[in-house]
């Protein structure tokens, strides 16, 4: 599942930056992709695409550093929603 999530998230980021090449483990902050507008688009995208909510305490830089870490965040929120 996390693999599919990662693909979806990567496609969203690359759609915004078509010239870039991006692996799942590259730090998107070091690539200069992130400003506060894009961060907001990213959070809105994840919430809508995966039907999860991201509370303030999940909006930590480490959760958004790579495509993989975002995919893991989605997995965790989906699991939390089921068990809650």
């Amino acid at each position: 599942m996390a693999n599919t999530h990662a693909q979806t998230i990567r496609a969203f980021i690359v759609g915004r930056h078509p010239q870039a090449e991006l692996t799942d483990d590259q730090d998107i902050f070091s690539l200069g992709f992130i400003n506060s507008l894009f961060a907001m688009e990213l959070v809105m995208f994840i919430e809508k695409e995966f039907g999860v909510s991201l509370p303030n305490d999940e909006l930590r830089i480490d959760n958004f550093r790579t495509v993989s870490s975002m995919a893991e965040l989605v997995e965790r929120r989906l699991a939390g929603a089921v068990s809650a």
Partner: protein, 383 residues
């Protein structure tokens, strides 16, 4: 007389505006303030923050509906719409980013209009370039110490609760500051070019001591998102209000052209006048559709709303300025006369090109769209 609205749809708000705003707007403009009596009418009509959920006293109005409300209010008086805009920004920030305790503490009062909010970002040395702000919030005894000066604060002279953006370490965070907090000083600003009744002020914070519950939203890298989100909603409201200005210019110009004659012929038959009116008719519809698209994407939680809102605000505000100029031209000396609504639209429309991201910032930012995949297509087209 009761002014409670049966519903918050466009036609109910249109009637409210025609009855209570249009006849008074020029008097408010000259007085430089919206009277308390009318603020109470807005409260009674439920127009301060109707998008808040019913649990806290809102009407659960969706964003498309909110855009229609702000367009209708903006058609009557941009100063009143400005008050709604900043109150909306504060209310939404608490609703979207606030803790449970902050929501409980503030949302019922914000929904009911018992507490009026103002948005504090601009400073003497920083406007659309938010990175330049120098107001600071430093950790202090478990809470915060806030210091700095905010300028051009819409409703600053009247609001009860300020949403203040301050530098907090390397990021910019949002803080809720009651007007009554010791160290808050409000200095009204009079005689602005436009939106003259929006009760602007300079608000100074002199070592204002805040509790830990003053911080709104996440800290760290995501803190800038609060500002982005709040500005996005403000931009949406200004876009809708700008559509209202174009509509008002169209209504006034068509009405005047139909009754005024020049050299024996009605103004409405002159080709150059007809050309101006045609452009107003076209642009008001285009601007309204752009706002509706932005609103629909907001309601869907679609991140494409951010760019759609930039585009809507850029188009609607520049259209308002363009057509307000033409509306004055069509009215001639009458358009320049004291108390002329057209002159007010002209002055207010200019302000729309400056606030919530100047036209220059819009033109720099919207270009990002050109470098995206499927640029120029609406999100629906891409699926």
């Amino acid at each position: 007389m009761t002014t409670a609205l049966p519903t918050l749809d466009r036609s109910a708000v249109r009637s409210f505006v025609d009855a209570h705003v249009v006849p008074e707007a020029d008097r408010w403009d000259r007085a430089g303030a919206i009277p308390e009596e009318f603020l109470a009418r807005l409260t009674e009509a439920g127009l301060w923050a109707p998008f808040l959920p019913p649990e806290v006293g809102g009407a659960g109005l969706d964003m498309r509906g909110l855009g229609a409300v702000h367009e209708e209010i903006g058609r009557g008086c941009s100063s009143v719409r400005s008050l709604l805009t900043v109150h909306t920004m504060v209310s939404w920030a608490v609703q979207r980013w606030g803790s449970d305790a902050q929501r409980e503490r503030w949302l019922p009062d914000l929904a009911a209009g018992r507490v009026l909010g103002a948005f504090c970002l601009s400073e003497p040395g920083a406007g659309s370039d938010a990175v330049g702000i120098t107001t600071t919030a430093t950790a202090h005894g478990g809470g915060w110490l806030l210091s700095g000066v905010k300028k051009w604060i819409t409703n600053g002279a009247r609001a009860d609760l300020f949403l203040v953006f301050a530098r907090n370490g390397s990021g910019i965070s949002a803080f809720l500051v009651p007007r009554t907090a010791p160290g808050v000083r409000v200095e009204p600003i009079h005689d602005m070019l436009g939106t003259r009744a929006s009760m602007l002020a300079e608000v100074a914070f002199d070592e204002v001591l805040l509790g830990p519950d003053a911080l709104v939203g996440p800290s760290g890298f995501a803190s800038g998102m609060v500002l982005s989100g709040v500005l996005d909603l403000g931009r949406y409201s200004v876009a809708a209000g700008s559509v209202g200005i174009v509509q008002a210019c169209l209504d006034a110009s068509a009405g005047y052209a139909a009754q005024r004659t020049v050299g024996g012929a009605p103004l409405s038959e002159l080709q150059l006048i007809r050309a101006k009116l045609s452009d107003m008719v076209t642009d008001v519809r285009a601007a309204r559709l752009l706002c509706e698209e932005a609103g629909r994407l907001k309601d869907a939680g679609d991140s494409a709303t951010i760019m759609a809102t930039w585009v809507a605000k850029y188009f609607a505000s520049t259209a308002a300025a363009r057509h307000a100029t033409e509306a004055v031209q069509i009215h001639g000396a009458l358009g320049c006369a004291p108390g002329s609504p057209t002159a007010r639209f002209y002055r207010d429309a200019k302000v729309m090109e400056i606030i919530e991201g100047s036209s220059e910032i819009q033109r720099i930012t919207i270009a990002d769209e050109a470098f995206r995949q499927d640029y120029g297509r609406t999100p629906e087209d891409q699926r």
